[in-house]
Amino acid sequence: MSRRLYDHLRLNVFPTPYCTGCGHGILLGAVVRAMDEATIDWDKTLFVSGIGCAAWIPSPHFKADTLHTTHGRPIAFATGAKLANPELNVVVASGDGDLVAIGGNHLIHAARRNLKITVICANNNLYGMTGGQMAPTTPLGARTQTSPWGAEEAPFDLCSLVRGAGGRFVARHTVFQIHQLIKTLSKALTADGFAFVEVLSPCPTHFGKLNKVPTLGDFREQMKSVYIDRRRWDKMTPEERCDKVPTGVWCTDNIPLRSAGGNKMGGAE
């Protein structure tokens, strides 16, 4: 990372609390670089996060306003802050359990509402901070503390979920697709409506140890084979797609935007 970007970090709290091989540190760096690429004013940026490992990406590492909320609610907190001060760039960064399980209702309504906020969902496929329990993103058959014989429930496809709910800008990358990830995050930060970026982030400590992907290197190989560019995905047959997940950006135009500040909707009396 360029030395200049260190100005945006609270260096006194480093090193991060993340385990060896955790992808969240990569995502932390990617967010800082994307903020820079998109030339976002850090003083006018509010980072909102919930509870869990990913919620600690902005809080306390980023030198900006940060709001570390209750579990699952960062999008609802962010909605209030954005409406009260539309000049704030409001960026939610939190985990899959936080945003999609306990906070799933807020996620789909925020996508439907299409208020201009950016949501970055670090998806490590389970609950890391509490020791590695099953999440609604745990792949079918994957072992966790609470699915010791393999998950029996199909996971959410987060991007399809958010697109289905009306998300304006929806994207997915792994932390290993670092250049695409930074570029996508920078676009998401400047999107003209609700933007959602799912970022696959390895958890060797909990997920890796139970699912035969013990190291970051193993994760990279596994993720490379599963998470493929959507341009490749689009050309595949249904059979070829069965164990693959597409990555990239999905944009939907012409979704009405929720105005921030004032009751401007509804027009004349």
Partner: protein, 386 residues
């Protein structure tokens, strides 16, 4: 630090109006400078939300209907830190959902106002019927230690006045504050007088100072806002003066929670308010609040006509409770009764304060408190002959 105080012309033309308690509370909010409302429809509080949608449009504020009450309280906290005077209105079931955010607001010292129009519970209960069952919920509903402020209006006028007071207290003490009305007041229609000038208190927003600790005696630190370049760290986890998480430090936890509780307890006698009627020569003291106090005042009048020395003590703040005033008003009285539209909540507080026998009079039938209920309860007291 002390709040700054402004006097502004009333946004609603001064004069007399005839309106519903819910509506008058919405007008009180606008008068108090409320510029953010997040809500979810619920009987019997919806009329407040419906009124404020229009009034916020008039005053260029923001209204948002959230997906649930958890979303409402969360949005209010985000808005409050972005500088808004934020409010919601709900009833018991919605308040239950809000409890997570109430605890967070207490922990992060976020000013906000919740108007609770109480209905008969528990659970879904009787949605359109009155009750007073949320007295403890607004004080102890979220987990662990914190303090709140709650005001109990008995009239449509007070629904207006106390909503303004709730905003001011919430800002001054950086604490979630409740207007704890019951359905009987929320849906009551009567006269409201809107004054010329409204007094508004604002939280101190001094920049460059720790937002989560102070050496000031009042224990209320200034609250900078998002977007001012203050690089704020706001968290519901235990935090130091600057907002850094200190989840393993016993000293920081003791100091933080001690201050959250202490800043209200030390100010309790200043915040606490009450009214008394005929207590000087009373042998029977009725302690009643909200709509029940109206029935109690009628009972006092009827008792006085039959020669019984009855008096009314009406707590206006239920939290903090006007303890000293209650002790003074009850000195020398033979009997104390507490009529409530619940199975006995404030009666416990009265017993705790006075350390003596207090008789609860409960009316839990989804009806507004009747004077006869109170008279019957007093009739049954040992040695009373009516």
């Amino acid at each position: 630090m002390k709040p700054t105080i402004e006097h502004v012309p009333s946004p609603l033309a001064p004069g007399d109006y005839f309106m519903m308690g819910d509506e008058s509370s919405a007008e009180g909010a606008i008068a108090a400078g409320c510029n953010f409302f997040a809500g979810y429809p619920i009987t019997p509080a919806s009329e407040l939300m419906v009124r404020i949608v229009h009034r916020l449009k008039d005053t260029n504020g923001t209204f948002i209907q959230m997906e649930d009450e958890i979303g409402s309280i969360s949005a209010m906290i985000g808005a409050s830190w972005a500088g808004a005077r934020a409010m919601s209105a709900t009833s018991g079931p919605g308040l239950s959902l809000m409890m997570e955010g109430i605890g967070y607001a207490a922990m992060t010292e976020t000013p906000l106002v919740v108007v609770d129009i109480q209905r008969a519970g528990p659970s879904t209960g009787q949605a359109t019927r009155p009750g007073s069952g949320d007295v403890f919920q607004v004080r102890f509903g979220s987990h662990s230690d914190y303090e709140t402020i709650a005001l109990s209006p008995w009239s449509v006028q007070e629904a207006f006045d106390f909503t303004i007071d709730a905003f001011n207290l919430s800002e001054a003490y950086r604490v979630p504050t409740f207007v704890l009305a019951d359905e009987s007041v929320g849906h009551l229609r009567e006269k409201v007088t809107v004054p010329e000038k409204i007094e508004r208190w604002f939280r101190p927003t001094a920049k460059g100072m720790p937002p989560f600790d102070t050496e000031d005696e009042d224990g209320v630190p200034p609250m900078p806002l998002f977007g001012q370049g203050e690089e704020l760290l706001v968290t519901g986890s235990t935090h130091d003066a600057l907002g850094f998480r200190k989840t393993q430090d016993s000293g920081v936890h003791r100091r933080l929670v001690g201050r959250l509780v202490g800043k209200i307890r030390r100010a309790a006698e200043r915040i606490a308010r009450h009214e008394t009627y005929h207590v000087d020569d009373a042998e029977v003291l009725i302690v009643a609040y909200g709509f029940s106090a109206r029935a109690a005042l009628e009972a006092v009048s009827e008792l006085r006509q039959t020669g019984v020395g009855a008096g009314l003590f009406r707590p206006i703040t239920l939290w903090p409770f006007p303890e000293t005033a209650l002790k003074e008003a009850s000195a020398g009285v033979k009997h104390i009764v507490v009529p409530e539209m619940n199975w006995g909540q404030v009666v416990r507080e009265v017993e705790r304060i006075l350390h003596r026998d207090v008789t609860p009079i409960t009316q839990v039938d989804g009806e507004g408190m009747r004077p006869e209920t109170i008279l019957d309860g007093i009739q049954n007291l040992r040695g009373m002959k009516l």
